[in-house]
């Protein structure tokens, strides 16, 4: 009986591992992350002032440098999101997305730990919502997804692969 249970557990573990490492899982992750980053970037680009104010509220950088950050970050999100979605420069764009996710995770985590009563500023749609543990969990999931894509993406349905074949 015990042997059967162990075999079942082992088999299930293998299935989970297979699912995580499967290139199609990475493809879905890549498309999902790309779409999320495009949406996040565009919503910030449309309202630069609002985003700059959201950055100020985090109180993690001197005021003088807030605008530089607020100008550049949305474009980093948009450009890496587009590249990720179409699979062009996939390696670099997933590294960028992972780095940004780590940055967001740190900012949200520190805000939550400090108990700041501020809005996230992550997307325009959640502008009115205060940062809670749920935001941290959401970013943690996205960060994990970015790591999955980083390690297991094999370039299915990507321009990179298409260009490689063409070249």
């Amino acid at each position: 009986m015990e042997g059967k249970w162990d075999a079942y557990k082992k088999g299930r573990g293998m299935m989970v591992k297979k699912f995580i490492a499967h290139p199609y899982t990475a493809l879905i992750g890549r498309i999902l992350l790309g779409a999320i980053f495009i949406y996040a970037g565009v919503s910030k680009i449309l309202e630069p002032d609002q985003f700059a104010q959201a950055v100020i509220n985090y109180r993690i950088m001197p005021l003088v440098s807030v605008n530089l950050f607020a100008i550049v970050l949305p474009w980093l999100e948009l450009v890496s999101g587009i590249f990720l979605l179409v699979g062009l420069f996939s390696g670099g764009s997933i590294v960028m997305v992972t780095v940004l996710m780590a940055l967001f995770l740190g900012a949200i985590g520190s805000t939550w730990l400090r108990g700041l009563d501020i809005t996230c500023g992550c997307f325009s749609a959640d502008g009115a919502h205060k940062i809670t543990l749920l935001y941290f969990i959401r970013d943690l999931l996205l960060f994990t997804l970015s790591l999955q894509v980083l390690f297991y993406d094999r370039g299915i349905l990507s321009l990179d692969r298409l260009l490689k074949r063409g070249g």
């Binding site: 001197p62 005021l63 390696g91 590294v95 108990g115």
Partner: protein
């Protein structure tokens, strides 16, 4: 593979940064590159929003004046202007309600940080203005100038 990813990463960073600055330059609601001190409500008139050591010397012990130290609690404990309260800029949200509890909005407040190189005093003054304190001034020389001129020092948490 790793090398290629790093090169692509740098390329994406540069491409997005250039795109960001160009777009920001041409759009009507673009942000100024640096949040200039001139744009903050604090510095519309620099002379009336800063205070010199000479003036502060005669004012810091007056009962109506509130002095706020924008540095960290550790730096504050090592030494501060006598009578100053500690309200670090980076802990404004957590500590403001306690530190500013008995300070009415029409009271004159003077902020300072380490010295000319730091911006926390001005940033704190900006937040105070946003929170309704109209008479906020920055002692730009800060702790450095105060100490170097042999002014009285208080140690501890205040």
């Amino acid at each position: 593979m790793l090398k290629r990813s790093i090169i692509e990463f740098i390329g994406i960073f540069l491409f997005a940064t250039i795109l960001a600055f160009v777009t920001n330059f041409f759009r009507s609601d673009g942000l100024p590159l640096l949040r200039p001190k001139l744009l903050s409500p604090l510095s519309e008139n620099k002379d009336s929003n800063t205070i010199s050591l000479q003036t502060l010397k005669g004012r810091y012990e007056q009962p109506g004046v509130v002095i706020l130290d924008a540095r960290s609690p550790e730096e504050f404990a090592e030494g501060h202007i006598p009578g100053a309260k500690n309200l670090p800029y980076y802990e404004f949200s957590e500590k403001a309600s306690v530190v500013l509890k008995d300070i009415p909005c029409d009271r004159e407040i003077i902020t300072y940080c380490e010295g000319l190189e730091c911006s926390n005093a001005e940033d704190l003054a900006f937040l105070l203005k946003e929170n309704g304190y109209a008479l906020v001034k920055v002692f730009e020389g800060g702790w450095e100038e105060w100490r170097e001129n042999g002014m009285p020092i208080k140690r501890g948490e205040g």
